[in-house]
Symmetry: C2
Subunit: 323 residues, 2 copies
């Protein structure tokens, strides 16, 4: 647990209980009761220049990305997006920047029929905080603490592309434009799995979106659910472009430990796997089974029968262990 | 209209319409339909170090203030607070700072039975964005565009104290502690008029909270409603402490043009003024009638029959005109 998770626990300990709060601090989003037929799902995420994106980031991509990471939280709860607000902190008010930023934001909002209902624009260091609101049927939100032992663990899409894209931008002297590379594009334009998340309602027992890396976020889900897992390194999808640019070991490292992908990781009971495969077969992103939950709390990655030790926080450590 | 209002218009022009959005961008808060019996009111506001508060601001006060300014937006719609989220950008994670900040935040949240349901904590320049959610009966939200000609204009409390407090902090070499002065206290600990706002449902025809100064915010309400007003400078309450510290002219200037008070400005039809006075008589903050709306779009301040020209943006201009 990092210092920021500790801070969140700190707030959670002081948070007032209300009868209408079904899920409070600690999941991808909060769930509140609004009437007999629906629950409201609320999530908020900030992007800050220098922390979440480099200085000089393209405005259109930032507009997309600050909404995408929030829609991903709704996706991880199986919720239908409804409305959002945007708090934008700007060092100056360049009309062209705001034009491009809002075009990127609004294009994604339109894709998911999400209305921008309010916001605040202030003078300050470049940063954006979006709050999104979605809807689920009562009790239908897919929390991260619902997994039980003996369930299959799946991931949508192909993780590690965003991290490879970020590494490409750091490596290459001239920063590649978003459109020059599929990997860089994936960093700037993550695709929230909104439709996939909603379709998993009634199928998945627990779900989380992968913002900090497959290993870290899968471990969060498992810990929240009070289970462990046997996970298969050999099953992890790696992007051909990442292998081409960085070699297989580093591509796998990105897939396992790189953040910013916003794919979904979820658990499914054995009896629902047929339905999952039927549903998942229609998705462009695809799904991959990476292992199974266990009652033993350990999270173990194996490849060809050999156990690999993975450190939550260290790329380097994994790079050494994985070789 | 300042550059940030222009940016908000820019987003508003691109905002997607949804049938369930009753009030979108441009009021104190958004109003969305959630079921047949209630509407959801959503507001978001950011505070950034160096823009909204000086460096070295007391953490407890910041915790209070970032929630208070948002609850004030709910108050200005006549809404009952329900839930909030907090996005906190921190340059470092000092445990004592977070302890004090969260104590200030949670004490106010408890006062208004507002549950903190989620958030995000990130590394970055000191800033906080809060999103608040409240409830109103269908159609009961008090917008800023509902005033008609011939209605009385009222203000809660006594404006200008926060601006006087801020001026005191700038003037005095040693920054006064929040508790040393009523004026400084008002800057750090604004009191959102939540109960007052809710009680005005069915009485007020339009309402706004005063964050940028009585003249500016009253003018916004009048402009949104398509009316003008005759306003009486002599009716404006000034704080005795502000007169004592700065003299009568400057105290009046603070009351008229100083921001950060978070009092409510609202309009009331003549036939409801008896009810308003009955309700308002129970409020500690008191209410003051400052003038009446007119069909003529001018906003005119008079004192003893003499007209004063007021520039929206300039303290100096008013100080000269007011002498």
């Amino acid at each position: 647990m990092d210092e920021f998770e500790l801070i969140e626990r700190f707030f959670a300990a002081r948070a007032r209980a209300r009868d209408d709060v079904r899920v409070g601090i600690g999941d991808d989003a909060a769930v509140t009761r609004i009437d007999a037929n629906a629950e409201l799902v609320i999530a908020t995420d900030s992007l800050v220049e220098g922390t979440h994106f480099p200085a000089g980031a393209p405005a259109h991509a930032l507009g997309h990305r600050c909404l995408a990471v929030n829609l991903s939280d709704l996706a991880a709860m199986g919720a239908q997006p409804l409305w959002c607000t945007l708090a934008l902190s700007l060092p100056d008010g360049s009309a062209q920047w705001v034009d491009e930023f809002s075009a990127g934001f609004m294009a994604l909002a339109d894709t998911y029929d999400t209305a921008l209902v309010g916001g605040d624009t202030v003078r300050g260091p470049l940063a954006m905080t979006v709050t999104v609101h979605g809807r689920v049927a009562p009790g239908a939100a897919i929390r991260r603490d619902g997994a039980a032992p003996g369930q299959a663990i799946y991931v949508t899409g192909c993780t590690g592309q965003a991290a490879a894209g970020l590494a490409l931008m750091s490596r290459d002297e001239e920063r590649p434009a978003p459109e020059t590379s599929q990997l860089v594009e994936r960093f700037w334009y993550p695709a929230p799995r909104v439709g996939e998340g909603r379709a998993l309602s009634g199928i998945a027992t627990a779900m989380i979106d992968i913002s900090d890396g497959l290993h870290v976020d899968a471990s969060r889900l498992l810990r929240a659910s009070g289970v462990g897992a046997q996970l298969d390194l050999g099953s992890i999808r790696v992007a051909a472009a990442a292998v081409e640019q960085f070699g297989r070991d580093r591509a796998l490292e990105f897939a396992l430990l790189g953040g910013d992908d916003y794919e979904l990781c979820f658990t499914v009971p054995t009896e629902r796997e047929v339905e999952l495969r039927r549903v998942g077969a229609t998705w462009d992103c695809g799904i991959t089974c990476i292992g199974r939950t266990e009652s033993d709390l350990q999270v173990t990655w194996t490849e060809g029968g050999r156990v690999h030790a993975i450190d939550d926080t260290s790329f380097r450590h994994f790079a050494e262990a994985g070789k």
